[in-house]
Subunit: 235 residues, 2 copies
DNA sequence: CGTCGTTGTCGTCATCATGACGATAAAGCA
DNA sequence: TGCTTTATCGTCATGATGACGACAACGACG
């Protein structure tokens, strides 16, 4: 089991990585992971490991895909179920017991152990597309946030710039996406902004599409259809 | 590994099932499945088993999700990677070597062995949503088809009725979805229809949304996020 | 205290995609 | 020659969106 834990720190997307302390790939960065315990479901195992690594309860956690290409792990055939979690900015993560070190690394990053580059890429793409049709961006935010902060999430994850006025209209207009708390705050400069909480909706309609993602026709991308097998090593 | 093989026969969606010849769940219907061989990737294993069951090469095949709830298989803890395939109508499937019988069963159907009801439901929902934002519906069609036949695919999978004129406009207007062969055929009655081939696009933009799927706000659904663990038995 | 820069929020407008639906074309059949 | 059926084109009103103007409400600075 591998975890792709994403968060936004200082305006940049970060992923939680551990530095491997044992072979293979000693000294290289890798996704945090572990084993599924007896009597434990996959979702439960992912939630447990997320808690072990970050001390957090699962805000948003979903199964990403399973990787099982032969040759992925030099020690033999191993299958890995990958999970994706989106987290608000949080304190320094607690280093896992079996990892030499754990830390948030800014994206993009490459050169990870095993096939973790590919898993990370899949997780990233999943996160990007989920922002389009779900109110999931709030998972990156604290309980209360401003529309501008929510917009920064989109801009950071999509590496794009959105029009503040149209974004405001879209987000506040979509039922169940966010709901006002009634309070206002002054973040930095300028006019005070309203505070919002995440709404109850779990689906966003109509979708909030990435600019340029479309034109008329379409390039290529097929979700998990083009996943390549992957290996699971465990520390 | 479990396979959710879907096809359309006589205007109804069908899934390929096998009748179990050995315990547990002897005599019950189950999804076809098998093991991943040494040196074989997950995608390759799914393609091989698809070929073994149907004699077909993978038209469209994608990883669905992995199930691993404890208690799923009475014989012990087993993980199952599920794959989804969409196939055109084809001759009677070849019975698998380890299955008492294999046949196409019309949906809806319930009472499958293990947690296959849940896997099937996930596969169905995946297929339904994929029709929205990908030109995947052509995977249910023969190489050449009419717009009406393509529309029947949507209507069958979505259990809905679509306006022929708007559908025609949408499909022929989306670049790369379908391309005319230049020929026409008379299917049943009425004016001859143009024949089309699937286009090169792999993504459909803008999406072709299910009627009623939206209104303004949104109910709930989160892809693979709410999957429940599942078990894998093998014949 | 007035002005400026900055940020939040509301409004307007043209464009595009869509649902509803009329109209015509091209076949078979009575 | 109608009549029925299916395919395909066209029209219209509506809703969502991108571009962008305008105003509001704060701090900072003179």
């Amino acid at each position: 089991m591998d975890l792709v834990l994403l968060t936004i720190r200082q305006g940049a997307l970060h992923v939680l990585l551990i530095r491997r302390g044992i072979p293979p790939f000693t000294g290289q960065w890798a996704l945090p992971g572990g084993f599924v315990l007896d009597g434990e479901g996959l979702d439960a195992a992912a939630a447990r490991e997320l808690h072990e690594e970050t001390g957090l309860l699962p805000g948003h956690l979903e199964q990403l895909a399973t990787y099982g290409d032969p040759g992925r792990d030099p020690r033999g055939r191993v299958f890995a179920v990958a999970y994706l979690a989106l987290l608000p900015d949080l304190p320094v993560p607690v280093a896992g017991s079996d990892a030499a070190a754990a830390s948030w690394q800014p994206l993009p990053i490459a050169g990870l152990a095993f096939d973790h580059d590919a898993i990370l890429a899949d997780g990233l793409e999943r996160a990007r597309s989920k922002l389009e049709y779900s109110p999931l961006a709030t998972a990156f935010c604290p309980p209360e946030f401003t529309i501008a902060e929510l917009r920064e999430v989109y801009e950071t994850v999509w590496r794009t710039r959105l029009d503040p006025r149209n974004f405001h209209r879209k987000v506040t207009g979509a039922a169940g996406f966010v709901e006002p708390t009634g309070e206002t705050v002054i973040r930095d400069r300028g006019r005070p902004a309203q505070l919002f909480r995440r709404g109850s909706a779990t689906l966003l309609h109509p979708a909030l599409l990435r600019p340029g993602s479309s034109s008329q026709l379409t390039p290529m991308v097929t979700d998990s259809e083009d996943h390549v097998a992957e290996r699971e090593v465990t520390e």
